[in-house]
């Protein structure tokens, strides 16, 4: 048992969990390399320390602090990936994917198809986001819908440290490009330790809390709020089933439909702007496949249709609050 494994017996937070997963991947496969701004130890191991210790352990040839050049970062990851490496590239914040969008969607996501399967791009793009730190309009967007709409790239968003660990390992060793979304404001929240070395399969939702009256579908930060609201309503005798998608694309509609076929009520919750968000696709599918079987319209809770606001009062209300989630559930139960 190595140091990394020993560590996993006690609770850990997402920063530690992702660090452990990267460590594990680098230890077991020399093709795993890391690219990103400030990620080497000389640069303090990342802006919040996710990659701390890794360059010391694996060298700065494999753990590279890059220039502020997101197109070049993703480009380098793509090039290395098509000749067999498994690069993990960090785009510090999700809003900055906007400057690397061409590399991600026109290249990483398409090369397997365009090459007729001769090359593929097993990169993992780590990025973080989420409102709550008063960073304003350009630092906290959830943009997963853009990528889910892009054939060829998988989109993953863990809701706990243990999931972050298992899903990160799965992404790194998956043969397709994966976008891995970390929620920043909950980085420091501790959670149970993961199973060392165990990957969580991509493309499968997790029934986090079983229930019979209503299905709540979520991912990333809002999962915890959904569970809390479910607990609260359970005191009133409402049994809510909470599904954590884990992977947004490919979307595990089978699990969602199985749950809603049972509960006949559904609410989808995400921090991204509601309009044209991931919730729309899920709601459309539920309605299509369970036509005539639902007891209430599918509810959707998301951010307001605005940029992320700065003032605390606005920022707090902007994202799905527990109150808004609860209201949506109650509306469905009426």
């Amino acid at each position: 048992m190595n140091a990394a494994q020993a560590q996993t017996s006690k609770p850990l937070n997402t920063i530690q969990a992702v660090n452990l997963a990267l460590d594990e991947a680098m230890r077991t496969d020399p093709n795993v390399i890391l690219l990103g701004e400030d990620i080497a130890d000389e640069q303090a191991g990342g802006i919040v320390g996710v990659t701390k210790g890794l360059s010391q352990k694996y060298g700065t040839s494999r753990v590279r602090s890059t220039p502020i050049s997101e197109q070049a970062i993703i480009g380098a990851a793509i090039g290395a990936a098509i000749v067999g490496m498994r690069p993990v590239a960090e785009i510090m914040l999700m809003n900055f994917t906007a400057v690397a969008m061409d590399m991600i969607v026109n290249h990483a996501a398409k090369l397997r198809f365009m090459s007729g399967g001769q090359t593929h791009v097993p990169i993992t793009i780590r990025t973080m986001t989420g409102a709550g730190f008063g960073t304003g309009g350009q630092h906290a967007d959830y943009l997963e819908a853009w990528f889910a709409h892009t054939p060829g790239i998988k989109v993953v968003a863990p809701s706990s440290p243990a999931d972050a660990y298992g899903l990160m390992l799965a992404c790194i060793f998956d043969d397709d490009p994966c976008l891995f979304i970390e929620n920043m404001p909950t980085y420091w929240n501790p959670g149970p330790a993961p199973q060392p070395g165990v990957r969580i399969p991509l493309g499968r939702a997790n029934v986090l809390r079983p229930g019979t009256d209503v299905t709540v579908v979520s991912y990333s930060r809002t999962v915890a709020d959904c569970v809390a609201v479910a607990e609260k309503l359970s005191k009133e005798g409402v049994s809510a089933e909470v599904l954590d998608l884990r992977t947004i694309s490919p979307l595990d509609m089978d699990t969602v439909l199985q749950s809603v076929a049972k509960t006949r009520r559904a609410v989808i919750v995400h921090e991204a702007v509601k309009a044209f968000g991931v919730g729309a696709e899920i709601a459309a599918n539920i309605n299509e496949h369970l036509f005539g079987q639902l007891k209430a319209p599918v509810g959707r809770v998301g951010a307001y249709f605005s940029p992320v606001p700065f003032a605390k009062v606005l920022e707090t209300e902007f994202v799905p609050t527990p109150a808004r989630i609860e209201a949506a559930l109650r509306a469905t139960l009426k």
Binding site: E42, I68, Q71, T135, Y304, E317
Partner: protein, 328 residues
């Protein structure tokens, strides 16, 4: 180059006034944040005061700047009212942006602060557009784009300098080279010996200047501004400096070279310039003390104004998205 004529005493003191405003504002800011009275990410420009102060005396309210998350110095030097800046950072309706933008997105068109951005490299393409409007309309306005050394490695830098050069836009690109981009030292990320060397690839002037030397900075900036104003096109200025507070409030500076920050702080441009002004007879201790006190009072009033101003109503989430209020 001949030593150019010294600017007037009025200008010399005005530069000091701006530098002092920035320095005092920063100190108060850190105090207020530490006290928990305001919660906001803060990228201190402390140590970089001389650059926009020495530059802005050659601009008018009609001229534009685009700056970045670290740009409180740029904004204050350009004339954003202190109380509106504080109110914005406190998230109040009386702030420059009604509390909706926050510290990384200060806008104040009256003083020419047109865009503040949190995306590295993006001040430059937009500054080009401001300059383009002036050029098309035949106005004599100039646009200044502030950015950091790290930003000189991103694609938008290149596209902007090339476009400004081929169109001879009235824009001045001011790279505030403080030696680091977040935790990454200049050499680790940047292949140019001097950022100003990159100007040659666009056939425009590129000048490296000690950004902590107000006089040197003044002359270089003035020449670039005049060049832009007279239709000769852009200039790339690399102003060398240092940031005293790390990247963001709370930064532990572990990535810095040993003694580097201490050495830079020992050469703090604000007291150094103050000393020089008095020694050279451009100002007296008493006159500067009075000026400092007035600034201190202005900042105190601003803090009070900010903290006693109302926070925005939730309905603001539906306003300013489009010209028309969002209904659903």
């Amino acid at each position: 180059m001949n030593q150019p004529a010294l600017p007037s005493r009025e200008i010399l003191v005005d530069i000091y006034r701006r530098m002092t405003l920035i320095k005092q504002n920063d100190e108060r800011f850190l105090a207020v944040i530490k006290a928990g009275q305001i919660v906001a990410p803060y990228y201190s420009p402390r140590g970089q005061e001389a650059i926009p102060s020495a530059l802005s005396v050659s601009l008018t309210d009609q001229d534009y700047i685009c700056t970045i998350y670290r740009g409180f110095h740029d904004m204050l030097a350009k004339g954003v009212p202190v109380r509106m800046l504080w109110a914005e950072v406190a998230g109040r309706t009386t702030g420059t942006c009604k509390g909706k933008g926050g510290p990384m997105h200060i806008t104040h068109p009256q003083s020419g602060v047109m865009v503040t951005t949190g995306i590295v490299g993006s001040s430059m393409p937009i500054a080009n557009g401001l300059a383009l409007a002036a050029q098309i309309r035949g106005e004599k306005r100039v646009a200044v784009a502030y950015f950091g050394d790290g930003a000189s490695n991103i694609g938008a830098f290149h596209e902007s300098l090339n476009m400004a050069a081929v169109w001879k836009l009235p824009v001045v690109f001011v790279c505030q080279n403080n030696g680091y981009g977040e935790h990454t030292r200049y050499e680790i990320a940047t292949s140019a010996a001097r950022i100003s060397d990159r100007a040659a690839g666009y056939q425009i002037p590129g000048i490296t200047v000690d950004g902590n030397d107000p006089l040197a900075m003044y002359h270089v900036a003035r020449q670039a501004i005049e060049r832009a104003r007279s239709g000769e096109g852009p200039t790339l200025i690399e102003a060398k400096t240092f940031r005293f507070q790390g990247h963001v409030f709370g930064d532990a500076d572990s990535y810095m070279l040993k003694g580097e920050k201490e050495a830079a702080m020992a050469r703090d441009p604000v007291p150094a310039y103050r000393k020089w002004l008095i020694e050279q007879g451009h100002a007296t201790e008493a006159s500067l003390a009075k000026l400092e006190e007035a600034i201190n009072a202005e900042i105190s009033a601003a803090v009070e104004f900010a903290l006693s101003s109302p926070v925005p109503d939730i309905s603001e989430l539906r306003r300013d998205v489009f010209a028309q209020e969002v209904l659903s």
